[in-house]
């Protein structure tokens, strides 16, 4: 279903008016070079202090909250691994009821953060339920392509060919043998007003997507590419370079789905070969030329599918 979405609350963010104050304080316990925490900082800069954050169990919860310290400058709650969306549903409903009864004044942003494990796997049901019910909240999936907090185990976001501690590469195995689940597409299929992919290497693009997601009425989902130097076996200072390569190789294309309409927000004129992206990462070092060729074919096919979705949804009139 295609429909018109009211984005009048959205004001474009540029290098000049970029908000500076993150809700995540420095001094948290993330690994050096963690792009996941960087992404969370970017999202909360846009959201501003009038925000309530729900955090699923995972790296970001652990590194920001060991009592008696907290890295959070806004109200923040962690309940469990698989239920951030359900908790957000309750918060949004509670605030709505209290506002209607005149017990509280304003209308804070409600943002849920979950890793790929808590989004793709164990929290899939609660996310789907919350999107379907139409709660007005933003869900950010911080996708580092494995369960990092428990020691780099595979998830259904782990890409084909990646070696993890539960999908190890070995004489009989290439590592992860399944294809990455397409979460943004699954979320878009819930017919929610706003879905996007975002990459911290393109910070203005990411921030503008958060702006739009918060401006729409109803659920929004942003899939954020969150490089994990520790889990991926790269140097801490190269996280943003790798993140950039993911988009430059078309492996992580940047697009948004507004009211069911797909659009690229960045298109790469001359995509680099996927090998440029795979090569620096220890998790892919066992791959043969043949494996890389296979992955290249897959990347091209996925991108082609996305292009066709863009064409199809823009050719069709809104209902």
């Amino acid at each position: 279903m295609l429909r018109d979405i009211d984005l009048s609350g959205y004001k474009k963010i540029t290098a000049k008016n970029m908000p500076k104050e993150s809700l995540v304080a420095s001094g948290h316990r993330a690994c050096q070079g963690c792009v996941e925490v960087l992404a969370m900082g970017m999202v909360t800069k846009v959201a501003g202090p009038n925000t309530v954050v729900v955090n699923a169990t995972g790296c970001m919860e652990i590194i920001t909250s060991p009592y008696p310290q907290t890295a959070w400058k806004c109200p923040w709650i962690h309940v469990a691994f698989e239920n951030a969306s359900a908790v957000a549903s309750g918060i949004e409903s509670g605030l709505k009821a209290l506002r209607r009864k005149g017990k509280i004044g304003d209308n804070p942003n409600v943002i849920a953060f979950g890793g790929d494990g808590s989004t793709f796997d164990i929290g899939f049901q609660s996310l789907s339920g919350a999107l379907e019910r139409g709660h007005n909240f933003l869900y950010c999936c911080l996708d580092n392509e494995a369960y990092m907090n428990t020691g780099v185990q595979r998830s259904s976001a782990t890409p084909y060919g990646a070696s993890t501690t539960t999908s190890p590469a070995g004489r009989e195995s290439i590592g992860q043998q399944t294809q990455k689940k397409n979460m943004p597409l699954i979320c878009a299929a819930h017919n929610i007003p706003y879905v996007a992919t975002a990459n911290p290497a393109y910070h203005l693009d990411l921030m503008n997507k958060v702006q739009k997601a918060l401006a729409v009425d109803g659920p929004a989902y942003i899939h954020i590419y969150a490089v994990c130097p520790t889990g991926w076996g790269i140097k801490g200072e190269t996280g943003i370079e790798i993140a950039k390569l993911a988009t430059e190789t078309n492996s992580f294309p940047l697009y948004e789905v507004v009211g069911g309409r797909f659009n690229f927000t960045k298109q790469i004129k001359k995509p680099k070969p996927i090998l440029d992206y795979l090569k620096p990462q220890r998790r892919f070092r066992h791959l043969t030329e043949k494996d890389v060729a296979y992955i290249q074919k897959q990347v091209d096919a996925d991108y082609d599918y996305l292009e066709r979705l863009v064409r199809a949804t823009n050719d069709a009139p809104a209902e």
């Binding site: 959070w72 109200p75 309940v79 469990a80 549903s89 309750g90 409903s93 509670g94 009821a97």
Partner: protein, 390 residues
């Protein structure tokens, strides 16, 4: 002030939640709890209750949404049973550890397998140690009144703990009883609006649910345990207020039958009514028997229980759940630990009955009494009414 109506007990509970002016109700259907939340959803749909009704996709999410809503500062209600309660298990501990005064009705039902929708207490007995205040009701009137009282207990700043009202599935939930309803004004005077001690408010940021490192975890647990123990006098206080208002005599523990009787039945929940009838009949035959009914199950009212059993030489403890691999049923286990080391502690005879909805007629309690007197029941526990040598 009071209006008497013949009504299904589930609908009376829904009415209690409406009168309590709940702000948020999260719910997932499971028999025999469904009528409560169906009725509440109708109230919301018809504008008779100004609340958000969240029809979640599972009980796990029902409890998670309840945690979020209570953390946001809203008066929050949900209801469940059996498999649903089991699915909530993980979050039940978190709700009490976060000190969130959610009120939940558990329509007690047996657990799978085999799947059974009928009544016993195995669902709640698997959730003994979640740190919630837990009460058992015996009839519809009590279900209505304690459901309102539950909010007052839970939200009291000396308590701030989630609270469960246990009511037997079908035996109570689906029974039509004459029930007296209070008016809104009376309830408003009894139950003030929820004033959270802490909430998710951007003007006053707090972090809820942080990591408990080994240096603080134990202390956090101790605080929760203390809060639960400290809730007992508040429960008593709220029951006293309720008694005053509605002319009842609810107490943490209740006694029936002969005072200082040599043998006492101990019951929890609606089977207490059948036992009560049996005890009356036995007393009429001149038998030295009484009954102790436990209303507050967590925190366990140790002193009140001991006082209520004073002088007894034998307790026939009626359990409604099996504790596989243990020496007796869960209530008997509890009472054995309460009585251990007490001077002149009575002997405990444990009868596990009414499992999976098996009927236990009044006559059978008289039979149980006779067998107990004759020393013919098992030393450990007797599974009452077993039809095979399975």
């Amino acid at each position: 002030m009071l209006k008497r109506v013949g009504i299904e007990v589930s609908l009376a509970v829904a009415e209690a939640v409406r009168l309590a002016r709940a702000d948020v109700i999260s719910a997932y259907p499971i028999t025999p709890q469904t009528h409560i939340v169906e009725e509440l959803s109708h109230y919301v749909a018809n504008g008779e209750l100004d609340a958000e009704f969240i029809p979640v996709e599972s009980e796990h999410s029902a409890m998670s949404a309840a945690v979020g809503s209570a953390a946001a500062g809203a008066r929050t209600y949900t209801a469940t049973s059996s498999q649903g309660l089991a699915l909530m298990h993980e979050i039940l501990f978190i709700a009490s550890a976060m000190r969130l005064p959610i009120v939940m009705t558990v329509a007690n039902r047996s657990l799978s397998g085999p799947i059974s929708i009928w009544n016993d207490h195995s669902d709640i007995m698997a959730e003994r140690d979640i740190g919630w205040v837990q009460l058992f009701v015996e009839d519809g009137q009590e279900a209505l009144e304690l459901s309102m009282a539950a909010f007052k207990i839970a939200e009291d700043h000396r308590v701030l703990l989630p609270t469960i009202i246990n009511m037997d599935g079908f035996i109570l939930t689906h029974m039509i009883e004459p029930i007296e309803f209070p008016d809104q004004k009376t309830v408003d005077a009894f139950l003030p609006p929820f004033e959270p001690a802490m909430r998710l408010d951007p003007a006053h940021p707090v972090s809820m649910g942080p990591v408990g490192v080994p240096e603080v975890y134990l202390e956090a647990k101790k605080q929760c345990e203390q809060a639960l123990l400290d809730s007992k006098p508040v429960v008593k206080e709220v029951l006293d207020e309720l008694n005053e208002l509605f002319g009842r005599d609810y107490d943490l523990v209740q006694t029936n039958g002969k005072d200082g009787a040599e043998t006492r039945f101990v019951t929890m929940g609606s089977l207490g009514e059948s036992v009560y009838t049996a005890v009356e009949a036995l007393n009429a035959e001149g038998k030295d028997v009484g009954q102790t009914r436990i209303r507050l199950w967590r925190p366990f009212p140790v002193e009140e229980f001991l006082a209520a059993c004073k002088g007894a030489k034998r307790l026939i403890v009626i359990d409604r759940a099996i504790s596989p691999g243990s020496v007796c049923g869960p209530v008997a286990q509890e009472l054995k630990s309460v009585l251990y080391g007490q001077p002149n502690a009575p002997e405990i005879v444990n009868v596990i009955c009414g499992i999976g909805g098996r009927d236990v007629p009044i006559e059978e309690f008289k039979e149980i009494y006779a067998l107990a007197q004759a020393g013919k029941l098992e030393k450990t526990y007797t599974l009452w009414g077993l039809n095979s040598n399975a």
